[in-house]
Symmetry: none
Subunit: 418 residues, 2 copies
């Protein structure tokens, strides 16, 4: 069954307010295997809404309309529906009684203008969820229309209680949906697509989506079928097929972020970490400490922008900086060892580089970054050249450093001593 | 001039991703008094997009299309435009050269599939903002179409640099638009609205927008008229009227962010800064180092999650931590003095607190934060209680600390010795 959402509200078209209703309904429809083809945001203007209602009648099996059911001048939905479908407006007795009851409970005296709230197009069926505000449904031709209030706290429970069950009933659909999102780092969207195209497991049953999510690439897999357990098995099989092809570039799905993943692994190894940052400027520490409980394994860090701080706080030998410069493999190694010793941590992670826009030279252009990781069995350094503006270079530096540690904490790594 | 936005992306119709582009464009159009009538979200499916493009041709003077310009199978926008308007696709030489240059810079070898990125409908005019990704415009009948990339970091600067100016030019109205966004910290949106309503200067010529932008509140002021100089004068007058009412809560408009503002002021005072962070976990250092050239005044920082690190790196006396705890005014003061001495900086800024979700006690609940600022004339501490989750408490802590320093660097402050 396929359909669309029409959300009315001038505030949606001035950018003042972010849409919540359409996104909520979209997610619920997707989870329930109902095919949403289109979302339209319109101003509170009856002619445009009437025109759009007529267009939707031709192309959709269900249409969910939100907003414009209130008592003020800009509430135009009932009038627009009446105009579009040439239906006269009638006072619904059930709604009228409900409004009188609500007013009485709040000790608000009746006024004639409240009667407007009980007007619906002839043939409408009231959707009354009991507690909150009502909507109504209306069948025109082969299309079911659901008219719902625009206030998210009213719309969402009404949608769940009465609209979604009605749609599932109408669709006769007994299929389930399983979905998972994989996060990858170190691979482009187009390279990932090439790989997926080669996988025999990805047949027509699998809907694949690619989402660049700088600096990561996300891959969404969706499958449908009658048997949830079989679908879960299929998803597991697909994930394994991707992992077999991309290996380390797949961030293990057990955590929602790279920093959480690093935290889980440090915890599992009973290991601790300290960080020395130059060009990433505190971003690695910031990401690590975003994880609740990170104080269990993250001991702290230093941001050493000046050479003096590198020497004073991290015991980087002045000769090293003098000989190879502050942005060099030797300095990075000395920083990693220095911070490891200073904090008495299992691992010391260090970065030094040129984030730009100034400070580049022909030998060391902007984006030159040296990373070093000190572990129980020694220290190692790696050089990278990143592209982008200052912000992107900071992000790529932090991500690459954390990703190195993530890989290091897998079995068989060289610095971890296991 | 009236128009619409068509945003493509299957992820928008599954509710997985919140729309950013359409909302951004909606706000910018509103600020420029260009009339947006409709926003449509569509799946990455060429037939639906082609149908919608044709409908928009009949009813809109401008149409902004976002998404679907990339290299993968689900990038269908160019094909849909070609289909809708019966235009053959041609390789654009300028785009082709640009793609080759980008690949060469990143040392990625050419592959034929990249040529697809240079295909545009015949008659398209490339929109090249210089640094980031390109789009194109196309006139059909009386309607101008603007096709833009879907990645917000690419779409938004392109929209500002080339689409908005073109629309203002096309709108034929010889009126100028002057717009400014004021950033405030420490005031709610509704309190700000109350204040604005009381200001006589804000008459009907001024379009006012309120945008919560956690942890700041942003206020957009837009004026239109024939004489740009008069408009600039009016904007200056409005800003002064706001400043007279809200005082220190208005972040001076000379910089785009609080960290940039702090940097400007430190530079102006010939002062330097070092930072000691506990609960903010590196976020203050990260924000400060986002500003190019920050190494001129930011000497570095330490993230001291453990008591040992507070004592070892910052010389916080063990008795202080023992007597008042790590989250206390005394510890914060000792940290600020310690980091100031360690880095030989003019100012030492320190924070210690409980970001949660764990670690709270009845006496020191989650959100308890002590800040301290050491300057040439002494050290001062302040206590705050923040509400929110871990991320929000980190953000509020960093913002409040930087904001304190901003105010301190104004004339007449107590720690700065002038």
């Amino acid at each position: 069954m396929h359909g669309e959402i029409i959300a009315t509200g001038t505030e949606l078209l001035t950018g003042r307010v972010a849409d919540l209703n359409a996104r909520y309904a979209a997610r619920r429809l997707h989870e329930s295997c109902l095919n949403l083809e289109r979302i339209t945001f319109l101003k509170d203007a009856a002619p445009q809404l009437a025109e759009t209602l007529l267009q939707s009648l031709g192309r959709s099996q269900f249409v969910i309309v939100t907003g414009g059911l209130g008592p003020t001048d800009d509430d135009i939905t009932v009038a627009a529906a009446s105009q579009a479908f040439q239906l006269r407006l009638v006072h619904d007795e059930h709604l009228l009684a409900r409004i009188r009851r609500c007013l009485a409970e709040r000790q608000i005296p009746w006024e004639d203008r409240y009667a407007r709230l009980a007007l619906v197009p002839e043939g409408a069926v009231i959707l009354d969820p009991g507690a909150a505000a009502c909507g109504f449904s209306l069948k025109q031709g082969q299309t079911w229309f659901f008219f719902l209030p625009g206030v998210p706290l009213e719309m969402q429970p009404l949608f769940d209680a009465l609209v979604l069950p009605a749609l599932l009933e109408l669709s006769g659909c007994r299929e389930c949906v399983e979905q998972c999102t994989l996060r990858l780092f170190g691979i482009t969207e187009s390279r990932l697509q090439e790989i997926i195209h080669q996988l025999a497991e990805f047949d027509q049953r699998v809907a694949v989506g690619y989402y660049p999510n700088f600096p990561e690439t996300h891959l969404s897999l969706t499958v449908r079928g009658p048997d949830r357990q079989a679908l879960q098995g299929l998803i597991a099989e697909l994930v394994e097929a991707v992992r077999a092809k991309v290996g380390d570039m797949l961030l293990e799905p057990e955590a929602e972020s790279l920093e959480e993943l690093v935290g889980l692994k440090l915890r599992r190894h009973g290991a601790s970490l300290a960080v020395a940052e130059s060009c990433s400027g505190g971003l690695i520490c910031h990401r690590l400490t975003n994880i609740p409980g990170s104080s269990d394994y993250f001991l702290g860090g230093v941001v050493t922008y000046s050479n003096h701080a590198k020497m004073d706080l991290l015991q980087v030998p002045p000769e090293t900086i003098g000989r190879t410069g502050a942005v060099s493999a030797d300095t990075a190694r000395a920083m990693a060892l220095g911070v490891q010793q200073r904090f008495h941590s299992t691992y010391g992670l260090a970065v030094t580089g040129i984030a730009g826009p100034g400070g580049g030279t022909p030998e060391k252009p902007v984006g030159t970054v040296h990373l070093a990781l000190a572990g129980p069995c020694g220290v190692e350094a790696r050089q990278h050249f990143f592209h982008g503006n200052r912000e992107m270079i900071k992000i790529l530096t932090a991500q690459t450093a954390l990703d190195w540690l993530r890989r290091e904490l897998q079995d068989g790594a060289s610095l971890s001593g296991h």
